[in-house]
Structures are given as C-alpha cells and as structure tokens.
C-alpha cells in the first residue's frame, strides 16, 4: 500500500534514509521479489527536496510504527484523493473505494479536519472556509478537536509560492488524506544539548545522535560501541533506544574525570535515567587493546571520528619519534609511574582504516557501522567514500557545515565475515602507516585535509586542486548549490 509522507523541511538528505532504517527495524525492507520491498514514488513535477513522497509499505501497522518514531516526518497519510483542482479532488475522493472510507466515517466515531497549505499559515477564518468546503465527504461521526479517533488532512500546495527558497513544487495541487500517525519530536527537546550537564566542544547534536542511532537499527538489548566516546552524546541516544553501551576515548580527562563527581559521562546517563555504559576505558583506536580472538560482539558501532576540524585525531607514540627526529624512547623505571605518554597526529586515512578494521572484526554479521565522514561540498558522492570488502554502503546523508565543507553520515552494513586475509591486509596497512608516518602527514596536507584547509589562510597552502575548485579567494561556485541548503537543512 502506498502512503503519503509529508516531511519537515530539515536535514533533507536524512529524511528518506530515516524511513528506510525504521522500516527495516520494524521488519520490512527488501521484499522477496523485486518490486515488493520498500519503494519511493514522487509526483513527476516534484524535485527531490520536495516534502512530499509516496512510500510503499506492507500495511498500516508498519506505517504507524515508522511515523511514530520518526523525527523528520510531519506525518504519514492514506490519501483518499488528490488533484490539481477542487473538481479533480472531489472526483478522486468519491471514486476512492467505499469500503476503505466507511469505517472512518461511521456515526459513533470522532474526527477532526486539519487544513494545511504548504509554506503558508492560514488564518482561522480561512481554515473554517476550507473545512466547510469539504462537502464531498459524507462525515457522520462527531467532530472532536481534542484526541479525535481520526484526523483528516486537506493539504494544499500553491504552486506559485517559493517556500524556504525551495524551487516551486508544481502547479496547484491538493490532497485529501487520513492521518496514519504524526512524527514526534519531543525526544529532540528532551535530549537537547543545552540541558546536558557535561558537554565537550564536539558533543553530538541530540537530533543527529538520535538519527544516527536509528540508522544503526538500535534495539533494546543490543550492545553498541563508540570508539571516540567523548562526553557520550552518541551513546546516550543509543541507550535511549534500549541499547547497552561501551565507549573508549584517547583523552583520559574526558572519560575518567569529566568536570567533577557529578559532571561526567556517567552523570550524563544518570540525568536521563538511562542505563550507564557497561564499560568506559581509555584506549587508542590505532592500537586497540582487544584480546586477539574477540570477534562479533557489537551489534552496532556509532561514532564521529576526530577528523581534525574541531578536534584533531591523536594516536599513541611520540610525534618526534614517528617523524624520525629522535631515537626511540626509553622511559627510566623510576619515571614510569607518572609518565604521561605523548601522542602524535592521526591522519584521516589512518583513522578510517583503523575504524574499518575494528568494525569488521567486532561487528556481528548484519551489524551497522554509522559514522561521519568529511567531504568538500561537491565531493559528497560514493566515489569519495572509503570502502571495505566486509561492508556495503546502505545510505549517505550530507549535512552542510559551511560554504565549502559538509559531513556525510555514512551507514554501512557488515555483509562479509572478517577473514584472515583481511586481518593480514589490515596489519600490512598498519605497518605501512607506521613506517611512513611523516610522508602520510605531508601528503594529507598537500591533498588539503580539512584541518589544513580550514586553518590555512585562504589562497594559502590549501593544495592545488582545492585552489582550482574554489578559486583564489576560496569561494565556492555560488550557483552550484541551492540557496535553501544550510546547516540543518
């Protein structure tokens, strides 16, 4: 059955993947035969950023579950009729099968009509006029404004208006539909960062963290790991959906101390009455302390790797030693106890390689790795994303950060078991990184990694290909991107 999705004008790229992930969570994704699984359909005149999509789902129960847990859906509807004019709408509604309409129009039922004009707020007298004009539906039940049994929507699109800078949708169009359910954003305000006790500079926004947990198909009783846990903002979202969590971080002040006994990672979980993490420890993702034969323990790995814009990645080993500027360290026995090991910069390539290797080993089959990957605005496509033989890319959602940079939320599913060949290949890569630390750092600077570009004066050493792309003044081509796209859109 096809249902109409009416999305919010937020995080445009996250909207369809959210519904797809929720559908999978509730047991519906790929059908047995082609054409049976989840499908999307759009009116021909609609552009991809339009808030209206039709989605094919098996039944109303699944649709209701999906919309009730969705953050980016305004609502999901069973359309009784649509048309470009009132006459077409009346025609369509009256030819909609009687047996589908009758149960909701019966005498002993309560109902309410909602009038919505996309991108425009209607005054109460306009609404009243619109409601009174619906004389083509034989309502017999009682109107009840508070908690009615059924809600009917008259959604109108006025093709002339430019909404939120979106290109005009099409000509005039109208839907008459019955609401299956409405999205619920109360979670977003419940977990808002401004109310969180312990925060770091890179704490993950609550809405995005919840969307990440949905992408990871988090369910009660699962074990979820974040190797860059920080103040725990991603794991809090996972714990909200019932997962048990584990986290590691290289910065011991963050995981162990926080800002006092009542202001640390543990207290953040306590604040929301969530189960505290099963374990927190300090470790370096470059040299993770897992026992050799541990495998397939986590149902999902969700993280925001430190790729160097707000927090640079660090790994074990002194910078000078890895650069070859000094000999190997030997720490005298009497100094060992209080020795603070130095760390070296951790390149994006290395970080992603280590993340993949760890995830390939520790995720269960079918488990998901959900993480952010940085990209230049026009590089947010599959060819630029890292690949791994054990993983299949499920979805990618771009979130624009500035005129030049985006981050893409990548959802990958483990579809292949971790084999000895992969382990060997990973070890070789690891040694290679270790030996060529200096060259890799240099190369990543030349390639213009995020850190060096963001913190280099424009037109400076941003690397040749970037200068070409953005021109000497570092400005991106304004016409190449739609005006309405911004940080949360």
């Amino acid at each position: 059955m096809w249902y109409l999705c009416y999305f919010l004008h937020r995080l445009l790229d996250y909207r369809l993947p959210e519904v797809e992930a929720l559908a999978k969570l509730y047991g519906f994704s790929e059908g047995e035969k082609p054409g049976q699984g989840l499908q999307w359909k759009q009116a021909p005149a609609h552009h991809p950023d339009s808030p209206f999509y039709y989605v094919f789902l098996p039944n109303e129960e699944v649709a209701h579950k999906i919309v009730s847990r969705s953050l980016l859906l305004k609502g999901m509807y069973e359309v009784w009729g649509e048309g470009n004019s009132k006459e077409e709408l009346i025609e369509a509604v009256s030819s909609y099968p009687e047996e589908r309409k009758a149960p909701y129009l019966a005498k002993d039922h309560t109902f309410k009509i909602v009038v919505d004009r996309f991108g425009k707020v209607l005054s109460s007298s306009e609404q009243k006029a619109c409601i009174e004009s619906i004389d083509y539906v034989p309502f017999q039940g009682q109107v009840q404004l508070k908690n009615p049994q059924h809600k009917f929507w008259l959604i109108e699109i006025d093709g002339q208006v430019v909404n939120n800078g979106l290109p005009p949708l099409e000509g005039k169009h109208m839907y008459f539909a019955r609401e299956i359910g409405a999205g619920d954003r109360s979670l977003v305000s419940k977990y808002e960062l401004s109310r969180r006790k312990y925060l770091g500079p890179t704490a993950m926004d609550a809405e995005i963290a919840l969307l990440m947990a949905t992408q990871a198909l988090v369910q009660p009783g699962q074990l979820v790991y974040d190797p860059f846990v920080g103040t725990g903002s991603i794991l809090i979202a996972a714990a909200h959906f019932g997962a048990l969590t584990m986290g590691a971080d290289i910065d011991i002040r963050v995981v162990r101390d926080g800002r006092g006994p009542d202001c640390n990672v543990w207290s953040n979980f306590k604040q929301y009455n969530l189960a505290p993490p099963l374990g927190l420890f300090r470790a370096d993702n470059n040299m993770p302390p897992w026992r050799n034969n541990v495998s397939e323990i986590f149902d999902a790995i969700i993280c925001d790797p430190p790729y160097g814009v707000r927090a640079g990645g660090r790994k074990s080993g002194g910078r000078k030693m890895l650069n070859g500027k000094r000999d190997a360290y030997i720490i005298p026995e009497e100094m060992r106890k209080d020795h603070i090991p130095s760390t070296a910069p951790y390149t994006l390539e290395e970080c992603v390689h280590d993340l993949f290797d760890m995830a390939a080993r520790l995720l269960v089959m079918g488990g998901r790795l959900v993480y952010f990957f940085p990209a230049a605005r026009d590089e947010c496509s599959e060819t630029h994303f890292p690949k791994h033989p054990c993983f299949t890319l499920v979805s990618k959602s771009e979130q624009i950060l500035s005129t030049r940079w985006s981050r893409c939320l990548l959802t990958m599913e483990k579809t292949q078991r971790y084999s000895t060949e992969e382990a060997d290949c990973a070890r070789d890569r690891h040694l290679e990184f270790k030996e060529n630390h200096l060259q890799i750092l240099q190369a990543s600077k030349e390639k213009g990694n995020l850190h060096s570009v963001v913190f280099t004066p424009s037109g400076g050493a941003a690397g040749p290909h970037l200068q070409e792309q953005y021109g000497a003044n570092g400005q991106t081509n304004q016409e190449s991107r739609p005006k309405y796209r911004g940080k949360y859109v």
Binding site: L223, I252, R282, A283, W290, G318, Y329
Partner: protein, 122 residues
C-alpha cells in the same frame, strides 16, 4: 570497570604475545545492583572467555561461578544470577590490570582502565 570489560581487554604492548588475561589488582571494589537481563546474558555468553571470567571473579572473591559451563546452564536461574553478578554488578573502582607477560600495570581509576601505551611500548 566491570568484568565484562576485563574479559575483552588484553595487553597490546609491541612484542607481547601472551597479554591475556590481565591480572587484577583491586584496591577498591564496589557492588552496584542492576537489572538482570537473561537475553543479554545468553547473547554475550558465547563471546566470552569463560576461564578468564571465572578466574577474574575468583581473584575478586566471587566463588560462585562453575569451572565448566555449557549453554544449557543459561536456563538455570541461579546460574544466571551468579553470572550476572560477576559479569555486570561488581565494579573495580580503583586498582590496576596487570599484563601476565611483562607485569606492566594498567591503572584503573574512578572505574576507568587506562590502556594507553607509552612511547617505548608501541
């Protein structure tokens, strides 16, 4: 640190081949009650190194875990209770984890093990 974490960690100093299981030096233990979740215990059981868990529990004075186990025991309520208690309710708040090969101490403070290596160990 719960024993579930202990069960997964090893010493990864360069050249160490036998860094598992880590010994436990406990200066402060705490017991925090938590809800027993049989499903989770059944799920995590096959992923654990039983001997390491049992020995670690033993070293902390928890003697209720049997030496030999089989999956059928996961239906037994008493066993689940003891298993849950050892795996998830006992916390090492202060102490250290000791590498069995080199004797290197990984300190555990405020319940968080510090597994980061020094420059001459990577």
């Amino acid at each position: 640190m719960r024993l579930i974490t202990h069960n997964m960690l090893s010493c990864n100093i360069k050249g160490v081949t036998n860094g598992y299981p880590l010994g436990i030096e406990a200066s402060r233990l705490e017991t925090k009650e938590s809800e027993l979740n049989p499903e989770f215990l059944r799920k995590i059981f096959p992923k654990l190194e039983w001997k390491a868990l049992r020995d670690a529990a033993h070293s902390l004075g928890l003697n209720d875990l049997p030496e030999h186990v089989e999956p059928s025991m996961l239906e037994d309520a008493d066993f689940l209770k003891n298993f849950h208690h050892a795996l998830l309710e006992v916390h090492l708040e202060e102490g250290a984890l000791i590498c069995p090969e080199t004797g290197r101490r990984f300190p555990v403070t405020k319940g968080v093990p510090n597994m980061l290596l020094n420059e001459d160990e990577v």
